[in-house]
Amino acid sequence: MSSNLRLIWNGLIPENPIFRLALSMCPAVAVTTSVENGLMLGLAVVFVQVFSSCTVSIFKSFIHPRIRIPAYVIVIALWVTVIDMILPVISPDVYKKVELFVKLIVVFAIIISRLELFASKEPLIPSFFDGLGMGFGFLFGLCLIGAIREFFGTGQLFGYDILGFNPLLIMVLPAGGFFVIGFIMAIFNWLEYKITGKIPTSGGAH
């Protein structure tokens, strides 16, 4: 059990998809103008990641290695189609804002890279927890960026007015997302430098 917990912790902080691996940056900037959007898309990613990890893990012996990438893409597209039908029923208003990105989960690099690196080699249970960890890491990243941008950009959190004025309007503009991610990445690097004593080389951004 502890190894499963470690898989979740691993996805949450040490290999956080957004800040450490720098994978799937597009939604991280695009939908995070508020916490609500980030939460919605994050949950969709958790769903797709967990279910496609499990599917690939179960059927890994049937997938020929030479056609594995198209096979993974089809598996992901299947689960994305499912969540794309579920979400508008649960919350139509928020879905309208993140609609394009829910569909684009198909091409999120984080999901296919976890299938390739983990689920295609490991049995079902670890794959499930790895998917859960990576999904929650992604969710955590989206919510953190969303909270910072919403709070400083509009003075609100979850749509509730907290400050009553807009401290930094730039945060909700397109440029703000880039700045916030750049600075959070730098903070993660700085923390690692303080703990381990060496400066990390940041991820490849794919």
């Binding site: 684009l104 296919i112 997302g177 690097n189 794919h206």
Partner: protein
């Protein structure tokens, strides 16, 4: 063949396609209505003969509505007549939607004291103007990288060197244009007749993946040198969000073949432009003294943020 020669060749291929797309619809739809938009709150209409000033200056004589909603009338606030009295400019209180069609009905047109009956004018942009607006919008105003944040993975991955950035930009533009048209054809001729619209995600990503694989295989046989230059990028293109986003946007807004092609071209060139600009800055950045925790990606994000700020300057920019 070095990158510069290659980019010239690619330009020679892309430019005629672009010119053809711009001109062809103009040939087909040469005769549009006799009205035109002046600004986004003004419509100009021209009469066959000089009209009476008292009649023309009365806003109540005009009925203006969108072609799709004939019930919703748009009130005319004022009318100015040209000195020769053959054309009038109608001014509206609210901004018009320049991409849709409007109809202007002039009641009881009077000329030299005689009633000439009702006249209708159809006001819309010509096809070429619409296409140019889409093109400019996708490339600059709503640049896919800086205002829609798509394709960031590739954008940060291959923008370290100018040479790879140019190669990627050109390869991407070509694949984007072709796959946009292919996805449009599949949607119109296969998915919609069979009522399989909910399968569009699977079909589009499958199409793009198969297409990229096909280009990869063909290029390997036909032109090994070009393959060596572009092979790496070809595989990466499948993971680029823009390649899937453009067909989805096309499907959502019901674009026709030419609109789809133009959106694909605009998105591709916009991506190439963003990649080129970013690679220029990042080559210089290598020589700068950046704080150690900011080295690599963090500083690249801050630079992208500055670019996004400057691209905000294009918002509200329109030629027609």
């Amino acid at each position: 063949m070095n990158v510069k020669q290659f980019s010239n060749v690619a330009l020679l291929i892309v430019l005629p396609i672009f010119l053809f797309v711009m001109i062809f619809p103009a040939l087909v739809h040469a005769a549009t209505g006799s009205g035109s938009f002046k600004k986004d709150t003004e419509i100009q209409i021209s009469f066959g003969a000089p009209v009476d000033e008292t009649w023309a200056k009365d806003p109540a004589n005009y009925r203006v509505f969108q072609k799709t909603d004939p019930d919703i009338e748009i009130p005319v606030t004022s009318v100015t007549l040209s000195p020769r009295k053959t054309s009038a400019v109608l001014t509206f209180g609210e901004a018009l939607n320049l991409s849709s069609e409007y109809e202007v009905q002039a009641k009881n047109v009077t000329s030299d004291g005689k009633m000439l009956g009702n006249v209708e004018f159809l006001v819309k942009k010509s096809e070429g103007q619409i296409l140019f607006t889409i093109f400019l919008g996708a490339m600059l105003i709503n640049n896919f990288v800086f205002t829609k944040y798509l394709g960031l993975c590739i954008f940060f991955g291959v923008s370290q060197k100018k040479e790879t950035a140019i190669g990627m930009g050109i390869t991407f533009t070509i694949v984007m244009v072709l796959s946009a048209v292919m996805c449009w054809a599949l949607l119109t001729f296969v998915l919609q007749p069979l009522h399989l619209g909910f399968l569009q995600i699977i079909v589009f990503i499958g199409t793009v993946a198969i297409f990229v694989q096909a280009v990869d295989t063909i290029l390997r046989k036909v032109n090994p040198y070009l393959f060596k230059k572009l092979g790496v990028f070809l595989v990466l293109i499948v993971t680029n969000c823009i390649i899937l986003a453009v067909p989805l946007i096309n499907a959502d807004s019901g674009n026709g073949p030419f609109e789809s092609l133009t959106l694909g071209l605009g998105a591709g060139l916009g991506f190439a432009l963003a990649l080129f600009l970013m690679s220029c800055v990042r080559e210089k950045l290598e020589l700068c003294r950046v704080p150690s925790v900011f080295r690599g990606l963090p500083i690249a994000f801050v630079v992208a943020g500055l670019f996004a700020l400057s691209f905000l300057g294009f918002s509200g920019f329109s030629i027609f």
